[in-house]
């Protein structure tokens, strides 16, 4: 839910409707943001055996 979201979407001024997407260091890799992005802008890849990125 938005109250717990740790993904930051920053709209670039001068490039209206262009965005920079980043994640807070507190992101726990739950993947909800990937699931609810309607446009496939986010992807979940396994970085190592023990960690998703």
């Amino acid at each position: 839910m938005p109250a717990k979201a740790l993904v930051t979407i920053r709209r670039l001024v001068g490039q209206d409707h262009e965005f920079d997407i980043s994640f807070s260091t507190e992101c726990d890799h739950c993947g909800i943001c990937v699931k609810y992005c309607f446009y496939g802008a986010l992807k979940r890849e396994r970085k190592s055996k023990s960690r998703w990125n």
């Binding site: 920053r10 001024v13 001068g14």
Partner: protein
């Protein structure tokens, strides 16, 4: 009592005294009126006396969100601004999309009430840390996009609603948008109201206040179901590729505009291909449909132009006999957006002038020596004249009724308008439906927007099977007993059905949910109710939510009844009862019922109006809600 889904505060700003204060949002108020335009209407009733002048300091701007914005409910992006319209004197709520509503809630506010007039050009800055009236001297005179980008450059992440020259010059047919193009906002002159207050812009800076959800897992379950329906919608890829133009080509049948011969839309197929190459989708907050668009012209006469449009760049102007290239249409739309002049009102007024000029009823002298010609240069010059109130542009800026007065025309005989709005869909093209180009245009208290009667997919198409109408009517909460007398074997009472569609539409506008068919088609009353209960923790049955919608629609009616609007203002244009002189119309050129079987005469429309008022529980002459209806809706404390 804690209520999830709401920010919890109403902000009051007095531009005259430069004072502001925040009051808690009363949970009882929120439960009764839901939010969005519902609470806006109640705030207007409570705080603003009847019959204020539209451009006086007393005319408010009441901004409302709703419980849904700020969550991941698909389509929950709406902001509503309620005010008295300079164009018509009606009171209504202009909807806009984008991210403004989410930003406002993250800053801690559900509603903002703005009254008064600033002493000098000002912009209002709202954040979770405070409210500030800032000097807008350096911005005054700049167009809407320039103002939006300047403020976003300073305050990003934020959202901006700004006015351009048309608002500054108090043009009645002005309009603006959220940010640089996420939804037109303020038809009927909201920018003029802002201009009269010396209010150049509203800026809300993103805050950190969360929107809490009462039952997150329950809400996610409903959302997942809707998203599955969206993902399998067969026209979604076409919409994402071609935008609103794609839908207009095949979907709406041109009922939103008076059409001339299709031969006058030159090279439409080639232009559409260029459009597809030039555009990209823009989504409002949390919407999976992305029906807005950004256009980048990478070559041609206006190389480097980036502009933003809702719906199509191509449909409207070339229908008036102009033969503009795609690039010229984009440039025209971009200019109008920057000025803040409403294209629909402007184009429809042009049609009147050209018709009268070409049949000899108007001379060049009548229109300030303006040489009417169907050229790009002419249209661009005239747009400037309207935005800056120069020459005959000053008359056009006041609206179609003023144009008629200036030209000694009879607005009831010579032009098509409803309540002073000449943005009227013509039902002679495709039959009398409920929404755009249909019945709702007559009875919408604000003006003929058509949207309230267009919540149902069949309302966009002529002669849809009766079973489709019944299906959607049931989904939108039509009671079984009403279904029995509204629907016949292969016919339906368009007026009585419209009443129920208006209640459902009012639900959407109270929740902060988009009213566009692109997203409403995936929802119904049961889904809305489950969203609401899971979000707020307030358990409601669908018919109770629909009752709230009806309550809020009646509040809108009450506000306008107080202003003196009555049955006479719901009159149909006289032109509807004459043949429409165009070729290739889908149902011929006379006013027919929805299925094209029966010609409708004036007395038939009067009977439909009687039916609508009866179904609504309103008096047939004053159109005010009866005491019984007020009691039924728990509005007994409301006086007219």
């Amino acid at each position: 009592m804690e209520l999830s889904g709401y920010a919890g505060s109403i902000l009051y700003v007095n531009l005259t005294t430069s004072q502001s204060s925040a009051e808690p949002l009363d949970p009882e108020l929120a439960i009764k009126y839901v939010g969005g335009w519902g609470i806006n209407h109640k705030l207007y009733y409570d705080h603003i006396p009847p019959r204020v002048e539209p451009l006086s300091p007393d005319n408010p701007l009441i901004i409302g969100t709703g419980p849904f914005p700020g969550t991941i409910i698909p389509g929950s992006s709406r902001t509503y601004i309620t005010y008295k319209h300079p164009l018509s004197g009606t009171i209504g709520s202009a909807p806009g999309s984008g991210v403004f509503s989410c930003m406002l809630k993250s800053a801690g506010y559900d509603h903002v009430v703005i009254i008064g007039r600033a002493r000098k050009p000002t912009y209002l800055k709202i954040s979770e840390h405070g409210v500030e009236l800032c000097d807008a001297g350096a911005l005054w005179g700049r167009d809407t996009y320039e103002t939006v980008f300047a403020l976003r450059n300073e305050y990003e992440p934020c959202s901006v609603i700004a006015i351009g020259p048309a608002g500054e010059n108090l043009v009645n047919i002005s309009v603006t948008h959220v940010d640089s193009g996420q939804g037109a906002l303020g038809q009927g002159g909201m920018p003029a109201v802002m201009g009269s207050k010396n209010l150049k812009a509203l800026v809300v800076i993103q805050g950190t206040r969360p929107v809490t959800v009462a039952y997150p897992d329950r809400l996610k379950k409903v959302i997942n179901g809707v998203l599955e329906r969206v993902a399998t919608y067969p026209r979604l890829s076409g919409l994402r590729e071609g935008g609103g133009w794609y839908m207009l080509r095949g979907g709406m049948g041109g009922t939103a505009l008076v059409m001339r011969s299709k031969d006058e839309v030159e090279n439409e197929a080639n232009a559409f291909e260029r459009h597809k190459r030039s555009r990209r989708n823009i989504a409002c907050a949390c919407c999976p449909v992305a029906c807005r668009e950004r256009i980048d012209l990478l070559d041609g006469e206006y190389t480097g132009l980036t502009s933003y449009h809702s719906l199509t760049a191509g449909a409207s102007l070339n229908m008036l006999g102009f033969k503009l290239s795609y690039d010229q249409l984009v440039k025209y739309n971009d200019t109008m957006n920057r000025y803040g002049v409403d294209r629909m009102f402007f184009n429809n007024t042009l049609q009147v002038l050209f018709d009268l000029y070409e049949d000899g009823s108007l001379s060049k002298r009548d229109i300030g020596d303006l040489e009417l010609e169907r050229s790009f240069n002419f249209i661009m010059n005239l747009a400037t004249m309207v935005a800056y109130r120069q020459g005959f542009g000053d008359t056009i800026a006041d609206g179609i009724v003023s144009v008629c007065k200036k030209l000694s025309l009879d607005p009831e005989r010579d032009v098509i308008h409803i309540k002073g709005w000449n943005r009227v869909g013509d039902p002679r093209i495709a039959g009398m439906s409920t929404g755009f180009g249909g019945f709702s245009q007559l009875v919408d208290p604000r003006g003929p927007t058509g949207s309230p009667g267009s919540t149902s997919p069949p309302s966009y198409q002529p002669r849809e099977p009766i079973e489709r109408w019944i299906k959607y009517a049931r989904e939108q909460g039509l009671p079984k007993e009403a279904e029995g007398y509204i629907f016949g074997k292969n016919e339906f009472n368009v007026a009585r059905l419209a009443k129920w569609m208006h209640s459902y539409f009012s639900v959407l506008q109270s929740l902060g949910f988009c009213g566009r068919l692109y997203i409403t088609r995936f929802h119904d009353l049961a889904t809305m109710t489950e969203y609401y209960s899971a979000l707020t923790g307030v358990e409601l049955a669908p018919n109770e939510l629909l009752r709230s919608g009806e309550r809020n629609w009646n509040m809108l009616k009450i506000l306008n009844t107080r202003e003196g609007f009555s049955r006479g203002d719901d009159r149909p244009p006289n032109a509807w009862f004459k043949p429409l002189g165009i070729k290739d119309a889908q149902t011929g050129s006379r006013l027919l019922d929805y299925y094209g079987r029966t010609e409708l005469h004036k007395q038939d429309i009067e009977r439909l109006l009687d039916d609508y008022y009866d179904e609504s529980g309103w008096y047939k002459d004053t159109t005010a809600p009866t005491p019984e209806k007020l009691s039924e809706l728990d509005l007994v404390d409301i006086t007219l």
